[in-house]
């Protein structure tokens, strides 16, 4: 579903009062503490390896290893598929490939609450029916020239990783949105600790969106900028795959000219 008619987000409005812009930036980067996530996980009976990543995402430390580990998952699924699969530029990467494994309705789930949850099955209303899937495309161009939102020094240090986590989560369902978030990261954190990870996410987003040529160009810039990066071998392998299996080379049709699958 096109989002071309959607208005600009408020934080992109150059005339927005600084106080409101800061507040919106803070709200967009807000998140729970590790302790809070842990307590709920324990009460739900899911405090285990599965909950570890949620705790990690909420962690004040939010170490670079978390992001690197997450990117390894990306590289093994969506990223690799985007570069090697002839259909990757046309068909969306399956939702399970990245980030939302639970989206699969094929997995069996009991109707009763988790075993470790006691009589806490609080009554709550839920949507009458799952809303229809929407394939939305963010107005990336309109956001690309948005003014810098908040100087990085005014933001929570955890905001940087949270922003990239959101970009990563959007890679499969909304690669254009992932790109916008990467651009936002670049504006907010020009000297951030996760610049390499941002670029990797951007490369995958471009590939998932079907812009394979742009993805390759950005990957090559990454290689030049970070020749000693721990991500460099993976990118090199992906580029090699891409060169041998570029859809545009086989079909004679530039990847960029293909219709977007939407996101």
């Amino acid at each position: 579903m096109s989002m071309s008619s959607d208005p600009k987000r408020s934080f992109e409005d150059a005339e927005l009062p600084d106080a409101l812009r800061s507040a919106l930036a803070a709200a967009r980067a807000d998140g729970p503490s590790v302790e809070s996530v842990s307590r709920v996980a324990e009460r739900l009976g899911v405090a285990g390896p599965g909950a570890a990543s949620a705790k990690a995402a909420a962690s004040a430390g939010r170490s670079k290893l978390v992001m690197i580990a997450a990117l390894c998952v990306l590289g093994g699924a969506g990223m690799h598929a985007a570069f090697t699969n002839d259909h990757a530029a046309i068909a969306p990467v399956p939702e399970r490939a990245v980030q939302e494994p639970s989206a699969s309705p094929a997995l069996e789930v009991r109707h009763e609450p988790p075993s470790s949850v006691r009589a806490q099955a609080l009554e709550a209303s839920e949507p009458a029916a799952a809303p229809r899937r929407t394939q939305a495309v963010l107005p990336a161009k309109s956001r690309a020239h948005a003014p810098a939102v908040v100087p990085a020094e005014h933001l929570d240090p955890n905001a940087e990783l949270e922003l990239l986590r959101r970009a990563q989560a959007a890679l499969t369902p909304a690669p254009s949105r992932a790109l916008v978030l990467c651009e936002q990261h670049a504006r907010l954190f020009p000297r951030g600790a996760f610049q390499q990870e941002r670029e990797l996410i951007a490369v995958v987003a471009l590939a998932n969106r079907g812009d394979l040529r742009a993805a390759r160009a950005r990957a090559e810039r990454f290689e030049r900028a970070y020749p000693d990066s721990v991500h460099e071998p993976r990118l090199k392998a992906l580029l090699a795959d891409h060169k041998s299996g570029e859809p545009g080379a086989r079909t004679g049709k530039p990847a960029e000219s293909r219709p977007s699958t939407g996101d």
Binding site: M3, L20, S36, S102, V109, E126, A130, D156
Partner: protein, 173 residues
């Protein structure tokens, strides 16, 4: 851990942070947000077999958040937020001035959001803070697209007014 518990763990791992975030912006007090978050994931667990993948899982969970938050706000036993109760839960160092400023900005936004009608607040939070498209927002809140636009416009106007210089003078704590 049973297979279904493992699946819930996966959903929780992937979605807990934004569930917390959106619940807070929808008016769930810090003292209650863990309870309501748990409630959201219990509903997710119960309803997941019916989830057919026609919507993004994330969008579907937003709908559950909206309803759980609305129920919470209507509860007579809703706890009052205690000053300072939230500080130990901060993921930021309160000793840092910028962290304090950020928290104050967030509280100010929450006050402004708290002045909005519920329907406008939901649209504003989902569009301005959670990056849903307006079509997605309309689906989640269950209203026509034009109605969602109207609510967004009205909410923006009111939030902007709350951050106007005159409002700043009045509301400085």
């Amino acid at each position: 851990m049973s297979p279904s518990d493992e699946q819930l763990a996966q959903v929780f791992a992937g979605h807990a942070p934004y569930v917390f975030r959106v619940l807070r912006r929808l008016g769930v007090d810090a003292a209650d947000v863990e309870d309501v978050c748990q409630e959201v994931f219990l509903v997710v667990h119960r309803r997941l077999p019916d989830f057919e993948g026609r919507a993004q899982l994330r969008t579907w969970i937003y709908g559950i958040c909206l309803r759980c938050a609305a129920r919470h706000r209507k509860r007579p036993h809703r706890r009052r937020e205690l000053i300072g109760a939230e500080l130990p839960e901060l993921a930021i160092d309160p000793a840092q001035q910028r962290a304090v400023e950020q928290r104050q900005a967030l509280e100010r936004l929450d006050r402004a959001l708290g002045e909005l009608p519920e329907t406008q607040r939901e649209v504003y939070v989902l569009y301005e803070l959670e990056d849903l498209s307006m079509a997605e927002v309309a689906e989640v809140v269950g209203c026509p697209l034009q109605t969602a636009y109207s609510r967004l416009h009205a909410a923006r106007r009111q939030v902007l007014a709350a951050f106007a210089p005159a409002a700043t003078d009045r509301k400085v704590v």
